[in-house]
């Protein structure tokens, strides 16, 4: 055993002793196997460090270079014609194979796309939304309707849905007398109900006044004779014959949905269509919320 090996062993022993001292000092619980494994690891590292250091120091002391010199000489510095170490050669071949895979499959199939992430996020959200709200009860719908209303509707209709003193439809009541007179005068073909367009001027003058007063008043008392014209489509109770024509006494699911889908331009101003901006469940929720107002 030469002196180098003895020095290396001594170095390893010092490292191991230092480890033991530190472990004692830190009062580590050695009954825990994880701590024992860590200590064995530390000892192994100390031995390997000393062994590898000894090997290379020894090599530097004793090795002589051998082999055939290359023809080139750069400012007197020559180069041996050594074979490429096999480890290098295999890693080089490995990177070429990896590059081919990355070029043809790795990058094209796994590349990150912001739109792709958005599509996945939306799909996952929609699936979760549908699962959660498959059969919502009335309280859930009302709460959802209120939050949809505050985001999508409140900027025009106001937070209390009162239409901000005539700037938009007052959603706490159905229609004012002026609005009814306006729609009787101009007719309406905006909401895509099965009954189709309402022609203009079905009633005029005093008849129109009477109808407007009666409908705006919530259809209390006896209907005026002229209201017979309206009954044909809107029904005697004004509820629109089960969705064939708009309900003119109160907001129901059908009227809310038709207005959201088609938008509307009336006596007050225009409302844009909210097509594709709300899901059917959200529309139903909005209608449920409006009916509680």
């Amino acid at each position: 055993m030469n002196s180098l090996m003895i020095k290396a062993l001594a170095f390893a022993v010092v490292l191991i002793l230092a480890t033991v001292v530190v472990v004692k000092g830190m009062n580590i619980d050695l009954s825990d196997p994880v701590n024992m494994i860590t200590i064995f690891g530390a000892i192994a590292i100390a031995i390997i460090t000393a062994g590898v250091a000894a090997k290379y120091v020894n090599q530097m002391k004793t090795d002589k270079s051998t082999g055939e010199l290359a023809d080139e000489s750069w400012d007197g510095i020559g180069e041996y014609k050594n074979e490429l170490p096999s480890g290098w050669a295999y890693s080089f071949l490995g990177t070429i194979i990896w590059a081919l895979w990355y070029w043809l499959a790795g990058y094209p199939l796994n590349a990150y796309s912001q739109i792709g992430e958005y599509n996945e996020e939306t799909k996952a959200y929609n699936a979760k939304f549908e699962a959660t709200f498959a059969n919502p009860d009335k309280a859930t719908l009302t709460a959802m309707g209120e939050s949809v209303f505050l985001v999508q509707c409140a900027p025009c209709h106001g937070e209390t849905a009162d239409g901000l003193s005539g700037k938009a439809q007052d959603l706490t009541t159905r229609m004012s007398k002026e609005q009814i007179l306006d729609v009787i005068e101009k007719g309406s073909n905006q909401l895509a109900y099965p009954m189709g367009a309402m022609p203009p001027m079905l009633a005029q003058g005093a008849d129109a006044e009477a109808i407007a007063t009666y409908v705006a008043g919530g259809m209390q008392g006896t209907a005026p004779a002229a209201f017979a014209t309206c009954v044909a489509c809107h029904g005697a109770d004004g509820k629109g014959n089960n969705g064939a024509a708009p309900n003119i006494v109160e907001y129901d699911d059908a009227v809310v949905s038709h207005v959201l889908q088609n938008g509307k331009k009336g006596a007050i101003g225009a409302m844009p269509s909210f097509k594709t901006r709300l899901t059917p469940v959200q529309e139903k929720a909005l209608s449920t919320y409006l009916q509680t107002l």
């Binding site: 912001q114 739109i115 992430e117 958005y118 996020e121 939306t122 959200y125 985001v151 999508q152 900027p155 025009c156 106001g158 937070e159 901000l164 700037k167 938009a168 007050i268 101003g269 225009a270 409302m271 844009p272 909210f274 901006r277």
Partner: protein
């Protein structure tokens, strides 16, 4: 074999640069050229809309409003479909903005109307009580600069071949024709407005800034 190259480091460096630059160009340019083409159905701004766009720039709306909807669920729920590069093909310059003190406006034409803008510009708090946006009452009396807008449209038509006067495109025509067309467009907007001063001005052949900016807002879809 390549010792001659190693002996000429300058030309070697130039060669390396050319090879890498070429690879960069063929990767980046085709994609860039494709994405910046106008999306299907996109038309150049009318003269009145351009005048409104200039009001938008002049009053520095961009300081508080962006015009770029990012592809996040939270944004598309509120503002609509995310923005595409091709939608800004005729924006010179585009007004993406980088600050949202107020909401994004890239698709405001889908969910706000002429009468809402009229109320809002006159007194934002009348429609949104918590709003911190200032009122823009001067827009109701200042007149929009139609001549500058026409000059801009004509310039981009001649210099960048923006498709004005193309089939199914936006008509531009001569200066007088463009002014008459802008007035017609303004009349249609003023018909939906309630402010008597604005209605009178448009009837007299003048176009207040509010009409131009509403035309621009309604166009943003």
């Amino acid at each position: 074999m390549f010792h001659w190259l190693e002996k000429n480091p300058f030309f070697f460096a130039v060669g390396v640069f050319v090879v890498i630059a070429f690879a960069g160009l063929i990767e980046i340019l085709p994609n860039f050229a494709e994405a910046s083409r106008p999306v299907a159905g996109l038309k150049p701004y009318t003269v009145l809309e351009l005048a409104g766009k200039n009001v938008y720039k002049k009053d520095n709306c961009i300081a508080c409003h962006s015009q770029l909807i990012r592809p996040f669920k939270s944004e598309t729920d509120r503002y609509g479909q995310y923005s595409l590069s091709g939608e800004y093909a005729y924006d010179r310059p585009f007004l993406w903005g980088s600050k949202r003190t107020g909401p994004d406006l890239h698709r405001v034409g889908n969910y706000r109307t002429t009468d809402w803008h009229e109320n809002h510009m006159m007194d934002p708090k009348s429609v949104v009580p918590q709003s911190i946006m200032p009122a823009y009452k001067h827009m109701f009396t200042n007149l929009a600069d139609i001549d500058t807008a026409y000059a801009e449209a004509l310039t981009v038509k001649k210099v960048f071949a923006t498709p004005y006067d193309a089939p199914n495109g936006t008509p531009l025509g001569t200066h007088d024709e463009a002014k008459a067309a802008a007035l017609e467009e303004a009349k249609a907007i003023a018909a939906d407005m309630k402010n008597q001063g604005v209605k009178d001005a448009v009837a007299n052949g003048q176009i207040p800034e509010i009409v131009a900016i509403i035309a621009y807002m309604n166009r943003l879809k």
